[in-house]
């Protein structure tokens, strides 16, 4: 039963990977956009003279890149490359491969996103649970309206406001980048502290917004859970309030939150891309932004594919963990 469940989930993951690759391959070709030709024209324009042999050059490059072969051959070559995480060369930074650029940027995004998602999920769920709990301190009720309002704001907009307040008006924190301009990336305490300082504002703008969402969801679930008979029974048995709160209410109310987490990851990531752009944070979002500016199709495709696969994999892991959190699930066909 367990194995069948995991296999099915893994099948869905493979399907996502294949769909992402296929989308990446066919969408740009549907538009009839010729990246080699337009790039050569652009270069010729930069050089300031009109090249007469540009058509022949295009054909030559297309032969080298295999673009003159039938579409299905190109598709198979592409899938083969993607399977080995080979996304070709970056057009804008030529000698570098797309996979290298992504490997440089990915740790930044993973660290920023992993920390902020875990923190906001934990804080938000706890806060939401307390907000629904009648014995919680009264002042917590005042947190509701700001949480609601924050929850409706896009991450990057809050980022702009926070930057102005905490980096421009009161220069507490650095405005831009992932580390100071002069710093050399190394595994030292100084560099680590520098990186941490630069990460505070981007992280804060994600955490403040996301926490509100988790708190609202958790509060809703807690209200329903606390109405259940087994909670009344637990109270009647004379169990201590913290036990009822944690082991009876939170334990059950957290389950839909985890399901929501799997669904929310995509949105959080979309938002984080923009946060990185606003702060010039050296992660996937900024890489993508530069690639869009420079019309670097291979980098754009590589980033989008990598992110979709990474997210699909995270969802898969969450799916596998889920039956362990909720033992009922493995007996049901999902």
């Amino acid at each position: 039963m367990q194995a069948a469940y995991i296999a099915r989930r893994f099948g869905v993951f493979l399907l996502i990977v294949w769909l992402a690759a296929t989308l990446n391959f066919f969408l740009p070709r549907l538009s009839g956009h010729d990246p080699v030709h337009s790039k050569l024209l652009q270069q010729a324009a930069l050089g300031g003279y009109v090249q007469s042999g540009i058509e022949e050059m295009t054909r030559e490059y297309e032969r080298r890149f295999g673009l003159d072969k039938p579409l299905w051959r190109q598709y198979l070559t592409y899938l083969n490359g993607v399977a080995r995480l080979d996304f070709n060369y970056s057009i804008a930074n030529y000698p570098r491969k797309v996979s290298e650029l992504i490997a440089d940027a990915l740790p930044w995004t993973l660290a920023l996103l992993g920390t902020t998602t875990l923190l906001s999920f934990a804080i938000g769920s706890l806060l939401g649970a307390l907000l629904a709990w009648p014995e919680a301190p009264r002042w917590m009720l005042w947190l509701m309206p700001p949480l609601w309002a924050l929850h409706a704001i896009p991450f990057f907009l809050l980022g702009l406001i926070l930057t102005y307040l905490l980096a421009f008006q009161i220069p507490l924190l650095p405005i831009f980048g992932g580390y100071s301009a002069g710093a050399v990336p190394a595994l030292s305490w100084r560099f680590g502290w520098d990186v941490l300082q630069h990460a505070v504002l981007p992280a804060l703008s994600i955490i403040l917004v996301a926490t509100g969402g988790w708190a609202l969801g958790m509060r809703g679930m807690m209200v329903t859970t606390m109405g259940e008979d087994y909670v009344t029974f637990a109270e009647a048995k004379g169990l201590k309030a913290p036990t009822v709160f944690l082991r009876y209410c939170v334990r059950n109310a957290i389950l839909p939150q985890v399901t929501a987490l799997a669904l929310a990851l995509g949105q959080v990531l979309s938002g984080a891309v923009l946060v990185e752009v606003i702060f010039g944070y050296p992660g996937i979002g900024t890489l993508l932004f530069q690639a869009i500016r420079e019309n670097d199709h291979f980098v754009i495709q590589g980033v989008v594919f990598t992110v979709i696969v990474a997210l699909g994999f995270t969802t898969f892991v969450l799916d596998v963990i889920y039956p362990w959190l909720d033992p009922r699930i493995s007996y049901r066909r999902a």
Binding site: L15, I16, S31, G32, V304
Partner: protein
């Protein structure tokens, strides 16, 4: 009129949402009369002036009057949201009813696509679509690009609603009395879902605006249109924050905040109409 106010007192979120959006509408309508929106084009006013009586919102580096930009751009951004939102909810509703009412293979396929599509980060797929389109986008094309994913979430949630509705007694009675499938969908199910559809629509509009602003900030928007997102793109492009040109980003930020907060409180208010059980728990 008095009844409306009494209801607003019971449902303050709805009142707040409507008030915020009405304020925006007034701003655009009155502004459109008083201010020449031609000044939203580059090179029409002196550059980089801080707010003053002549230019209440200041001017940007390319010589746009930011007040005129806001008056011209707010409706454009809302238009993208509404076109994409309506297309998304419309398509989503049709698919959801087909899936949930007729079940079977179609249901499995539609649900599968919606489920998988929702785990994928929407903005990135939109980026691939926007990059693949030749040349710069117009505002309407932008709306269609955003709409291409806007149906996923409505399909999923409306389907769940229809699934629970179709088991109700009155649907059973209608079926037994020989009503056809489409008749049941339009005469029995649809009217009961209307408040829910309205809440879903507002949600979809909000999500579409968010997606369009995201694309615009990344530089994939309609370059020559003065939408709110494009204004933020120019803010970022010219590093207005570091240079201390605070008025440049304040105006679009405040208006975008009003749009999102207004739509959010509107959904909360509509949710309360659609789902009265929430009232007891709130």
């Amino acid at each position: 009129m008095r009844a409306v106010f009494r209801y607003f007192r019971r449902n303050p979120s709805l009142a707040l949402g409507i008030a915020l959006l009405a304020a925006l509408a007034l701003f655009v309508v009155i502004g459109g009369i008083l201010v020449d929106t031609e000044d939203a084009r580059p090179l029409s006013v002196p550059t980089l002036r801080a707010p003053s009586w002549a230019y209440p919102f200041g001017t940007d580096r390319q010589g746009r009057d930011l007040l005129a930009v806001m008056i011209a751009g707010t409706p454009l951004t809302l238009r993208i949201g509404f076109i994409a939102g309506f297309l998304g909810v419309g398509l989503g509703t049709v698919l959801a009813f087909i899936a949930a009412y007729y079940r079977g293979v179609l249901d499995t396929v539609i649900r599968g696509i919606a489920d998988i599509g929702l785990t994928v980060p929407g903005l990135l797929v939109l980026i691939i679509i926007a990059v693949s389109i030749k040349g710069t986008l117009t505002v309407n094309q932008m709306a269609i690009v955003v709409a291409s994913l806007a149906w996923l979430y409505p399909t999923r949630t409306i389907r769940a609603q229809v699934l629970s509705l179709r088991e109700r007694g009155y649907v059973e009675v209608a079926r037994l009395s020989g009503m056809s499938g489409p008749a049941i969908i339009f005469l029995e199910l649809m009217p009961n879902l209307l408040p829910y559809l309205a809440a879903t629509l507002v949600n979809a509009v909000s999500a579409a605006i968010l997606a369009s602003i995201g694309l615009e900030v990344l530089g994939l928007g309609p370059i020559d249109a003065p939408t709110l997102g494009m204004t933020l793109y120019w803010v970022n492009f010219n590093a207005a924050m570091i240079n201390g040109w605070w008025w440049w980003w304040t105006a679009p930020t405040v208006i975008i905040l009003m749009v999102f907060l207004g739509l959010f409180f509107l959904t909360v208010g509509l949710d309360e109409i659609a789902n009265p059980r929430l009232r007891r728990s709130a």
